[in-house]
């Protein structure tokens, strides 16, 4: 009796999502794990990857042209997240390889977290919690005052899935929303600015919600931060390299902007140490999207895409 062979899935990384759902993935697919092999990845792929049609990666496992050359049967690259900046998209296109991400499943949680970071910076929630826990309240009396959120001009860089959700949430707090995006969105009630500098000039708070591409690398630079001004706050839930990090640190240390909420950094998990002593920054370890519910939905989306792929049906969340 023939045992039905499970389709092969090459996993790079491994992605955190894969670690959480490894057992479930393994019941449906034959998993190839170069990261557990003593062989260097190139050799492993040459040896074991010849018939692999689908691979799963994530933000920290690059899929390069060189790697694609080692996988002649590859037709599907999936990433266990939203960002695809680690994948050589033009090369995939050239080779007729489909690229899939997790679609919209992470955008609500990321938007929620972005708002949480902003309120924390403005109202000093983490700083206040630290103050209480070290017993400083009875000794030092009243804690320093924060900044009101209502009425603030919020500039959203990238009005996509995440940016639009941030906008909708902040409207309820009485914020005035404007944005910069690659294209002007015709049916949104927010003001559009043609470039990020002008957006910053007209905003108290900037949210970085766009993807990382050649065009957006170091988009938030010295000029943008100067335009934002001394009372300005930056929240980054996009990718670290969208901001010129060393400039940002300088601006924060010298008080040239008022504060920042940062979930992503240029060289994760390294965070500039100068930030550790600042009370006007909130720094988190790239977890804006990390909820049980989002991971469950992401797992389901990836499996649905794989099942569609292996039955020659249309992909669910192609990029």
């Amino acid at each position: 009796m023939d045992i039905v062979k499970l389709p092969e899935l090459l996993v790079l990384g491994p992605p955190i999502l894969f670690k959480v759902y490894e057992r479930e993935f393994s019941t449906k697919f034959h998993i190839l794990k170069p990261y557990e092999s003593p062989l260097p990845t190139e050799i492993y792929l040459q040896t074991h990857g010849q018939s692999v049609r689908a691979l799963l990666c994530y933000g920290k496992s690059p899929v390069t042209a060189q790697m694609l050359r080692l996988l002649p049967s590859l037709q599907l690259v999936m990433t266990a997240g939203t960002g695809v900046n680690q994948i050589d998209l033009p090369e995939c296109r050239r080779l007729g390889i489909s690229v899939v991400n997790t679609g919209d499943v992470f955008s609500e949680d990321t938007a929620d977290y972005a708002v949480g970071l902003l309120i924390d910076v403005l109202r000093k929630i983490s700083a206040g919690d630290r103050h209480v826990r070290r017993g400083a309240w009875p000794v030092h009396g009243d804690f320093s005052l924060g900044v009101k959120l209502g009425g603030k001009q919020v500039g959203i860089v990238g009005l996509g899935n995440i940016g639009s959700k941030v906008a909708r949430r902040l409207e309820a707090f009485g914020c005035i929303i404007s944005y910069n995006s690659r294209t002007k969105k015709s049916s949104v009630p927010y003001s559009f600015y043609p470039n990020v500098c002008e957006l910053a000039l007209n905003s108290n708070i900037l949210f970085i919600c766009c993807s990382l591409t050649e065009q957006t690398r170091h988009l938030i630079n010295k000029d943008v931060m100067t335009a934002l001004g001394k009372d300005g706050i930056i929240v980054n839930v996009g990718r670290g390299p969208i901001i010129d990090e060393s400039e940002l640190v300088k601006f924060l240390v010298e008080g040239e902007i008022a504060g920042a909420g940062l979930d992503v950094f240029e060289n994760e998990p390294t965070v500039p140490k100068e930030l550790f002593g600042l009370d006007n920054v909130v720094i988190t370890p790239h977890r804006a999207a990390f909820t049980q519910q989002a991971f469950f939905e992401a797992f389901n989306v990836l499996v649905a895409n794989l099942e569609a792929f292996f039955s020659n049906k249309p992909l669910i969340t192609p990029v």
Partner: protein, 314 residues
Amino acid sequence: MDASIGVLMACPMSLYLEQELDKRFKLYRFWAQPSRQEFLKIHAESIRAVVGNATAGADAELIDALPKLEIVSSFSVGLDKIDLNKCKEKGIRVTNTPDVLTEDVADLAIGLMLAVLRRICECDKYVRKGLWKMGDFKLTTKFSGKRVGIIGLGRIGLAVAKRAEAFDCPISYYSRSEKPNTNYKYHSSVIDLASNCDILVVACALTPETRHIVNREVINALGPKGVLINIGRGPHVDEPELVSALVEGRLGGAGLDVFEKEPEVPEQLFSLDNVVLLPHVGSGTLETRNAMADLVIGNLEAHFLNKPLLTPVV
């Protein structure tokens, strides 16, 4: 204004307010007196106004000690530190600072919900300690869509509801009576409310009836996945019960801006990662505290000029 009008400020609350009161009246700082008894013996007759806040106001004892007291102007919206019945009896006017602080308090409630559910403060602490390593992670609880239950659907409760709705949170509430113009689901008991929500927010006034409105039964009904957010007053919650529920895991988490005996905070809470503790900063922004101070000054000026009070309570 008449600089001979004595105004007694009950405790430190705002340097801006002190400055503005100094300009217009004879300001006495109660907390700076070496002996309150001595101070009252000498100055009681000239004090015509008391300025209080959430920490200290005008209780029966103080009111009795100030025979010329005409008005108590509170630098807060809460009136629990003022003996309102005594003021009514004696014809003493009382004002507070509604509306100007509503948004800040509601903003903070949402900030606390996000901080607790998504463990933002804990994450920040983790990174600052230099503990972030590649590949480590923790999955937290999604906030959007959680059922939010509000105790007290007044100005602040409604503002919390409006914000939570933008996160697709279904809203329910408990109030002394059902409110006619809302679509939110009404529960006639706090236990019912707690049994049917994921996040319970205390947003009502503190009165003898609402003291310990969040008790052991309510906390148990909220449950091991439930989160309590207190932006009202410490005594709304039975604090020892809250602490044991959190320590024992019978309650999922808490975001607390107020405590029964501020500035004391139960130390058993300090080692918990599912709580966020703030030093009563609900209205703590420069803009709002200045607006509150302006309202206190405006009320006092109106009173002493025989004009209608801006925000009278009594």
